[in-house]
Amino acid sequence: MNEWVFLLLLLAPVVSSIPIALAYKSKEWTEKLPYLSVLGIFVSVLMSLHIFFALEEGPYPYDWIPELGINFVFMVDYLSSYMGVITAVIAFFIAIYGLDYMKGDYRPSWYWFFFNLFTASMLLVVYSDNLLLLFIGWEGLGAASWGLIGHWFRDDDEIAYVGKTGRKVGPLELSWPPSFGGWRAISTIRFGDVPMFFAIAAIWVFAGNLNISEIEWGTLFATIGAAGTVILLLCLLMGLFTKSAQVPFSEWLMTAMTGPTTVSALLHSATMVAAGAFVFIKITWYIEPWTLHGVPGLESVYILVLFVGLISGLYGALAGSGMHERKVLLAATTMSSIGLMFAAAAASFWVGHFAVLVAFWYMAVHAFAKASLFLVSGHLIHATHSRFLCGGLEFGKKMKPAFIVTIIATTFLVGMPPLTAYWVKSGMDEVMEHLIHDLGIVPLVLLILTSLVYSGLLAKFLSLNFIKGEKPHHEHVEGGGLMKLGYVMMVSVLFLLAYLIFTSEETAEFIHAGMAEVSIIVGILILLAYVVGLVKPRIAALSRLGTFFSDRMYLPFVNDYILPKTGFFVSHIVNEYGNRGIDGFFNTKVMPGLFGGISKGIRRIQVGGLTAYVKIVLGLVMIFLIIASIGGMGL
């Protein structure tokens, strides 16, 4: 019975999008079939709710290759049952929004197929207990991400670009079309996936099991020693950091904004980029590093994750503070938030289970809030025909639902008391405060700084879109009913989450943390930063610094200049010196010569004459018999 639940959960989105993929030539059908695709995602929502309410916690194994311990093992636990519902519901809301947003697009088949494939892959990542199965979903995420970022592959509409066209810094043009965005995404992610794959293989070899919940992590780490532990976890983390766009792998996420806004909302804020953090949370949940303090090497890995997370958090917030592109600004804040998730989960090494819960709940709140903001951005881009921040109070009044949703989503997300994220952020403050004993005050300071910049930044987003921005050159405020429905539903979940935080047993500690002195002070500071951002969204005196920040502190140079130049240099060397040998061996000299020689030999025998053949055969038979006689003599 339960196998049907998982089968429907994962297959419904894919199967329901196959008709539209096949009907790509028919305009008539591609206008109708998106509803079927959305229905498929709705089935997933129902299944995820069924899993949440009706299925008992524990593993659900189904045999695949039992001899190798590679099976379909789904895990229903606290994390996956929540995350599954979150993923399916967000995908469903965004799909509804997409019905309007993608109307009249030039390749709906491509869009819906990859959108649904993505949803299924993400659900696979969420529910998999088996690492190989998880990795299959993981690769599905990568493929769908590439397909959707480069959706407008013709690069013919400037509105889909990232960066001001023509703006050059040094030798590099800081503007990216969709096709390049897709390429940057897939190349960065593959760069991390390969070591991740090796890490999974290594786990299989050393632990003999790939089920996250069953692996004896302590024993595994003891078997491979300190260096082994560090190398293994670093390889695994390469996959997670690249997917979650952490420093220095963050560039692809910024240019991923060349994809349709629905894609940015679902993949590049709420779910896929969060998948890296989610997998880290999930693994930490089962590794229970707070019980493994004696394991050499483990602490250094967790310190690394903590600081990569915190630095990404601050970097993202600062980079965003100078930006003027709606979606790229949001992308920067996304990266920042995910950094905080990593940091909080990593802090569990010293703080314990509570830190993992904080990270997870922050992920949930962030997902809904950020998805709402992205959906609003998409609507604004449609309404103003501009991807840059613009729109004054007059415009805001015409776009009331979007305006209100933005107010709710930003205030609920930044950690302003007493709104939803405040309680989770208070938990995070408490966690970082705990670390003072082991790691000093730096983590707490980084967190507070990030939170303040982040708060001001989202206030700026609100202000420059609806209150103090320039009047848009173009206004198209009618229609968009399904889009409004999409983001209104999305943002309303934040109220539900607040309710859950107050009523559920696991999160009782959040309320406690929210009452603490430090949290209240930080909360008030965040409120102030928000007000500053709202009142003074542009500070002329800091414009040069802002440009430096909005150029992402020139990190694009690593991606687009230093790495390719190095690559070209290496390939030049290989081509000049290595290739001649390889070519000579395989293509021009040794192997072809060998084949040619043998072939000539084989052909030379075939003279056509019977006498010659008889001579050859008789001769060979005699030789064989003589050899056999000599060889057999001693037996």
Partner: protein, 433 residues
């Protein structure tokens, strides 16, 4: 009961052939009736012959049908000859008598002497001469080898005699089916004879020699087998490389297929390396342990490979005769030859490789895999050059039939059913499981 049915089948076959001088069609129908009678008798008397019997019946009938594509001088009798070969092939697993095994070999071999000469409007004497010379030589070597081996069974210490017998038998087999370096007749005969008789020689006629050799080698296996099989393994390796490189660098389709036969016989010879060795080890060779399932695995592999080869050769040679056949069918046959899962050729190779690994011939396994890779270009080229659009004709009908049989292993995955059949079959040729 079964012997009676066999005699009845032979009588009908003979009668059909004789009467075909007056009424041409009687040869064909006589052969079909005889085959059905023989098959039913075998299937009723021992159900484990069923799968083997079905395959042979199918190959026999397809060969019979394909003869309709050629206007032969001896039309009618040719059906009788093919019927006789099929009967002998069906019968071989039903006997425990060395004389009968050798008789079956001769019964399959001799009709091909006549078949090979069939040509529209005359007899291809030159090809016949070349072919018969080597076949006679092969049969003599095989028979002497077999008798020497059988004799060694009664000796307390066989030694040199066993080795000589073994080598003669394997050389006889190699000449008969065309294993390099004794393959010289194959490219010439395959490319200058008519494609239809060649499709029979390359399919049906290859099965009995292998089973006969296997039967004798298992029956006479002793600890010396472990050392002498290296000889067969080396022959197998030479044949694979000669066949594949020859095919890769040939242009004429019939010649490509001739070399492909040489390569395929190399793969099947590898099965002759594995099985007797598995049996010897199973009997308690010191220092070795083996699981009994590898015996029937190897047998299944050998037979599936022979069947896959038969299907492919029938399809391709018929396509050559008609200057092309429906393209997708050609590609499926090519993929089966290459060994793409889950087609029949794949299972054949896999089931041979598993026991080979088990008996320690890993290097031969590696060579089989490398050779499968070498074969990819020429099979694909063959398929693309012979593949044309759909036409409703006899050739395409035959190709559809062989493709359906090639796909049997796809439709009934996993192929446990075949393995189960092989388990009981293995017991009948003296293997104790």
């Amino acid at each position: 009961m079964m012997e009676l049915a066999m005699i009845a089948a032979l009588a009908i076959l003979t009668l059909g052939s004789v009467l075909s001088f007056k009424y041409r069609q009687l040869g064909f129908y006589g052969a079909i009736v005889a085959l059905v009678i023989a098959f039913s008798a075998i299937a009723f008397s021992a159900s484990h012959f069923l799968y083997y019997g079905i395959f042979i019946l199918a190959i026999g009938i397809i060969n019979l049908v394909s003869l309709k594509a050629i206007k032969s001088e001896i039309r009618g009798v040719d059906y009788g000859l093919v019927g006789l070969m099929t009967l002998a092939t069906m019968y071989i697993f039903n006997t425990n008598d060395l004389a009968m095994v050798l008789a079956a070999l001769v019964l399959v071999s001799v009709p091909t002497y006549i078949l090979v000469m069939i040509r529209e409007g005359g007899a291809n004497v030159e090809v016949g001469l070349k072919y018969i010379t080597f076949m006679v030589f092969a049969t003599v070597l095989f028979l002497i080898g077999a008798i020497i081996l059988a004799y060694t069974k009664s000796l307390p210490n066989a030694g040199l005699l066993y080795v000589l017998g073994y080598v003669m038998l394997v050389l006889g087999l190699s000449l008969e089916v065309g294993v390099a370096p004794l393959h010289e007749w194959v490219p010439d005969v395959f490319s200058s004879a008519d494609p239809i008789p060649i499709s029979i020689i390359a399919s049906l006629a290859k099965i009995v020699p292998f089973i006969a050799a296997l039967w004798i080698l298992i029956y006479t296996a002793n600890p010396l087998t472990a050392s002498i099989t290296m000889f067969t393994a080396v022959l197998a390796a030479i044949s694979m490389f000669t066949g594949n490189i020859g095919a890769l660098t040939s242009k004429e389709h019939a010649r490509v297929l001739a070399y492909s036969t040489v390569a395929n016989m190399g793969y099947v010879l590898a099965c002759l390396v594995a099985i007797p060795l598995v049996v010897v080890i199973g009997d308690g060779l010191p220092g070795f342990v083996i699981k009994p399932e590898f015996i029937y695995l190897a047998l299944a592999g050998g037979l599936l490979l022979l069947f896959a080869n038969a299907m492919g050769k029938i399809g391709f040679f018929n396509a050559i005769k008609e200057e092309g056949a429906y393209s997708p069918l050609m590609y499926i046959l090519a993929f089966s030859f290459i060994g793409v899962p889950p087609l029949m050729g794949f299972w054949g190779k896999l089931f041979i490789l598993l026991p080979l690994v088990e008996v320690g011939y890993t290097w031969l396994v590696a060579l089989v895999v490398i050779n499968s890779a070498i074969s990819i270009p020429y099979y694909i080229r063959l398929a693309s050059e012979l593949g044309i659009g759909w036409k409703a004709n006899l050739t395409n009908l035959i190709c559809v039939a062989v493709v359906v049989i090639t796909l049997v292993t796809v439709a009934f995955l996993p192929v446990d059913w075949f393995l189960e059949g092989m388990k009981s079959l293995a017991q009948t040729i003296g293997v104790v499981i």
